[in-house]
Amino acid sequence: MLRSFELCEPTSVAEASVLLARHGDAARIYAGGTELILAMKEGLIHYDHLVNVKTIPGLAGVRLDGGALRIGAATPHRVLERDPIVRERFPAVARMETDVANVRVREVGTLGGNLCFAEPHADPGALLQVFDATVRIEKKGGGRTILLEQLFVGPFETCLEGDELLTEIVVPPLPEHSAAAYLKFGFLERPSVGVGVAVTLDDGRVADARIAVGSVGPVPRRMREAEAVLKGKAIAESVAALPEAGQIAARAAEAITDLHGSAEYKEHLVGVLLRRAWEQALAAVDGRAGR
């Protein structure tokens, strides 16, 4: 049984922000509740006020804007998984979403809730970073846009202030002749390791390489040193350089030993998944598949 609380249903971001400011630590945003209600049921946390953001018009939904994907924070995973635009223009994002949790969690759990909970063992935070995704954060009287990678401060910790809401995730398109891929491995409900990559080819060379690793350490991270190893190389050379890139990424991921595996094991998996994801992305650029 949950302890009692008051449900607040604001109809604007400003109103939600005012409620959060007024109640301070006694209030929390409630989106899908797939994390929050679990933690409250276990008695780990309690809030006297839950602020339901699903009643704010316009906070859920997906649209294309000048090639970029704009995702309302309250959009459930299942919408991203099935949306025709996401599937066509951002297939790696749709595919990643089909493998988040189980279908019931995906129906109810939102992308914003996933990112704001900042549980280290999660998928979207890693893949979306290779798109240079940004997030829009708003409160009464103002807002800011930051890179998604700046959102994550530590395990279960974001840079959001108490009265701020995440309102939108913006995923810019990759340049021409690019593809992204995301692979994960885990044996519990949540991933032990997740690796996202994006590759841009230009005349047989790697014009750009982006790598992000999630679940392994405290926060999902871009691995710029590892990217540098692959950039500028001919395609075959980039493949030959994957072990080196993998080692650098594994070290930079700050792996920790936990229920999901030992640090050493996760570091090994970073290398394996990086290689596979890179090859998958290479094959996907401009239908190179099968070649």
């Binding site: 609380f5 049921k41 025709p84 279908v103 109810v108």
Partner: protein
């Protein structure tokens, strides 16, 4: 708001209820409405025993709050049979022996109804992917998979029974469950 008034249609029947904000759907269904087919097992959204359909979408009744059903329709295992006539998914589960202790069965069947509502002719892999969140401790899943594929054939007008490729791919009728739930455009629901 601490008490939330709502109208909800449960298995086709309209109810006017007032629920505390903190009541979970499973408490509402079992304790308030006496629908004991909804099972609670893990209580943390990993097993699927509590699967019910909220506007035809599968949710975990153990965690979703009751007020989320405001203005919506709920379907539980009790709402599937018509009188003495079992729903085709129930029939297939019985005929294939897709249950042993039966504790997971209501959730399995409700998840199957949701799956076939949005994808009337799933492949075996699609079934496995969709049903991954529904756990059974007894059966080993083989019979469950067979029952689901058979139910899909029956509901989309294919041949009855457990033949392999006997299904008739043409007819796509489906027993009132939503035809192609979900691909509703870009702004979700």
């Amino acid at each position: 708001m601490r008490e939330i008034p709502m109208t909800v249609v449960v298995n086709g029947e309209k109810h006017e209820l007032t629920v505390p904000a903190w009541e979970t759907l499973i408490e509402c269904l079992r304790d308030r409405l006496g629908l004991l087919g909804v099972k609670k097992s893990c209580d943390v959204q990993v097993c699927g025993a509590c699967t019910v359909l909220l506007d035809d979408r599968p949710v975990s009744a153990c965690t979703v709050l009751a007020f989320e059903a405001r203005g919506k329709s709920l379907r539980t295992i009790e709402g599937l049979a018509r009188g003495d006539e079992l729903h085709p998914v129930q029939e297939a589960f019985v005929e294939h022996g897709a249950l042993q202790c039966g504790f997971c069965t209501p959730g399995m069947i409700m998840a199957t109804v949701a799956l076939l509502g949005e994808n009337p002719r799933p492949t075996a892999d699609e079934v496995k992917h969709y049903m991954r969140g529904n756990i059974c401790r007894c059966t080993g899943y083989k019979r469950i998979l067979e029952a689901i594929l058979d139910a899909s054939r029956r509901m989309s007008g294919g041949a009855k029974g457990n033949g392999g490729a006997k299904g008739n791919d043409g007819a796509k009728g489906n027993d009132g469950a939503k035809g192609n739930g979900g691909t509703k455009g870009t702004d979700g629901r």
